[in-house]
Symmetry: C2
Amino acid sequence: MDARERALAYVQQHEADFLQRLAEFVAIPSVSTKPEYQAEVARAADWLIDQLQRLGAQTARFTEGVHPMVYGHLPADNPDAPTVLLYGHYDVQPAEPLEKWSQPDPFRLEIRGENAYGRGTADMKAQLLALLAAVEAVRHAGPQPVHFKFLFEGEEEIGSPGAARVLAAHPEAFRADFCLNPDAGMQGPDLPSITYALRGLAYFELRVHGPSHDLHSGAYGGAIHNPAQAMAELLAGMHDADGRVTLPGFYDRVRPLTDEERARLAQIPFDEEAFLASAGAPALWGEPEYTVLERITARPTLEINGLYSGFIEEGSKTIIPAYAMAKLSARLVPDQRPEDVAQGLRAHLETHAPPTIRWELEQMASAPPVMVDVDTPAVQALARALAQTWGREPLYTRNGGTIPIVAMLQDQLGIASVLTGFALPDSGMHGPDEHQHLPTWYKGIRALVRYFYELGESGS
Amino acid sequence: MDARERALAYVQQHEADFLQRLAEFVAIPSVSTKPEYQAEVARAADWLIDQLQRLGAQTARFTEGVHPMVYGHLPADNPDAPTVLLYGHYDVQPAEPLEKWSQPDPFRLEIRGENAYGRGTADMKAQLLALLAAVEAVRHAGPQPVHFKFLFEGEEEIGSPGAARVLAAHPEAFRADFCLNPDAGMQGPDLPSITYALRGLAYFELRVHGPSHDLHSGAYGGAIHNPAQAMAELLAGMHDADGRVTLPGFYDRVRPLTDEERARLAQIPFDEEAFLASAGAPALWGEPEYTVLERITARPTLEINGLYSGFIEEGSKTIIPAYAMAKLSARLVPDQRPEDVAQGLRAHLETHAPPTIRWELEQMASAPPVMVDVDTPAVQALARALAQTWGREPLYTRNGGTIPIVAMLQDQLGIASVLTGFALPDSGMHGPDEHQHLPTWYKGIRALVRYFYELGESGS
């Protein structure tokens, strides 16, 4: 029995231990979005430091961000081994509304059928612990085939506002050949997946100001421009009738989908009816010349995330509001840049805003889109490990969301990310009854073990 | 000295008493818009019942509405005298924000210079007490020239939601030749005014529903229609580039402004720069072929009073909102009908709403527009009384606002209203430092005395 087989046997024998550890981790309500949970977020960081130290790692707690970033380093004996940076986030979304959960306490892990239920299981405490379990198994089996570094952040669910500062303060600590990020999920229990592209984000707040205060619509209506109406007109002009974004230059830098890529995306089983049912909308929508999967992963969008003006309580109040506000965000695909969207928005407003109102545009969060070269040894080694574990080649997918840390690692440190994960699409992330499918999780741990040995052999 | 002169002398001698009474009335914080003031609203009704009984009136408290409606009857000896229904509302707006007042307690009347400051002075406790003061003076001077009836409501500031029920329950009690309503103000201290037209109102709440719950814009953006965007497009289509309402049939029943009426309106001193300054907006706006005064009084409008969708807190959240909501109201001019606006809105939505969203439209408050014939004896008697008091003919004005009780009296009981008032345009109604100009108030009381004698003589 070679080291790889010993490590895989170790995983098999310790499934119950790993599950017990998941229960402990989930029991710490590390909700990063609410200030009152700050101590719990810090406690989760401490718990991880402890786990890393048990594995023998050097650790550090970097505090330049909003919540601690946990760092660890576990070098291999062979100095020439490749270095893989293992990424995870240990913070979770709030559990509310509690009454929508089937269990009394979302932070007390419950096993029902093949699933472990609890806030933060799928997203992503189970994924993070899969990394630690695989490292533990590999270390138990003999000399480690690669150098391990660890980057566990506590502010992913709030958009990683401090991560750039941490990376800038510790560039040497995080130096690695590439980053393995298991926060990207998979398409189904029998569909291992590698995500090779993420959409970027450009987020804005637009304010349209009219009168200096709310006016009585009986006394002023007809002679003072209503800023909510002006806002509606400005927003309406940002899309054409087919749902295409009309901001100047918006599509200029969009890399066209090649026939090869469209063919590869078409292989991904995607049930449009189930997708629509999960949204609960009356119908599908969007650019007719693209498939639904292409629209949500490979095409850029401009969304209104929030809209406010005037009187929105129950009842009626007859005012011309003083101002209107919209939250707008664009999802970007390669090679769009957030700053180009800002420029297009300003150009649209300068052209179309009437002199009867004033506007101001504030740019908030932004992250460039990411696309990973799938032909690198690091990605191909993962593909082999997944294929060995599931008995089929992985799907290559694009994800329509944004993972800010992926863009930061690329831009600040030149570290590409390899994206995968063992959370299933219907795992209830961010909602009630979040869960991790356990057979898939154990398979995932074994796939990671295989991956580390594949990496060591490929010499990455 | 005849009765009229005795009554005018009585007013002159009792100005200090009237002012003392205004202080008492203002000290009752009869805020109808807030449930916690309900007992104070009732106390103001009791106080008025007491005032009416001191004048010798029969009184009743009608409770079919939300707040009590105070009724009084004071017949003349001559059964053939005309009956005038004296209208007032005894409820007031909230005083908040308190820190914006120059006095510590808005409900403690303060005299500074020629003005009496306090919440509800101009709107309309001083106007209501002017009626009672003039009736008192007339009764002191000899036989009353007209039958007096009184209708004092406590829910004007919340849109008179129960007034229609009260009128329907007591049609005989309120029977009168016409109603005198001093809630319409005047154009300036030297510009006595008769308001002959009010705009009507049709108020709606529009909801546009998309997905069944807020969606992650990274996972769904591009393939599910954003209801805030659909709302913006639907709203933007309700006006053309010149600010005209595009709802089908919206202008069909608008009575055109005659040259004669435009000439009369042009006589009203109206300072467009001061109007714009009071609004604090960057520029004037509206239908270019009408004057500003015509736009705000004689032309119909469609306003967005409120707008909501999705995430409107500080920061950023990347969702496709489940729904969007707009509060919409049209100001109507003769002969538009609220139900026609509802029909036009529905037609617009049926034509333009895409199948990717659902919409629902709820009609809330509505009131038809009002136009009074200025050639009636009741109006001409008021014109003479105002001219005798101010030494100049009154202005005939249209008011862009809506007074629901005026339309109800007309529609339910066939009673036309004669609209005037002694509140000046800059009296701070609904805002901080509300005040009544006292010399104008005393003049107003004298004008009402003269009016009652003019009415008795005209036999109307």
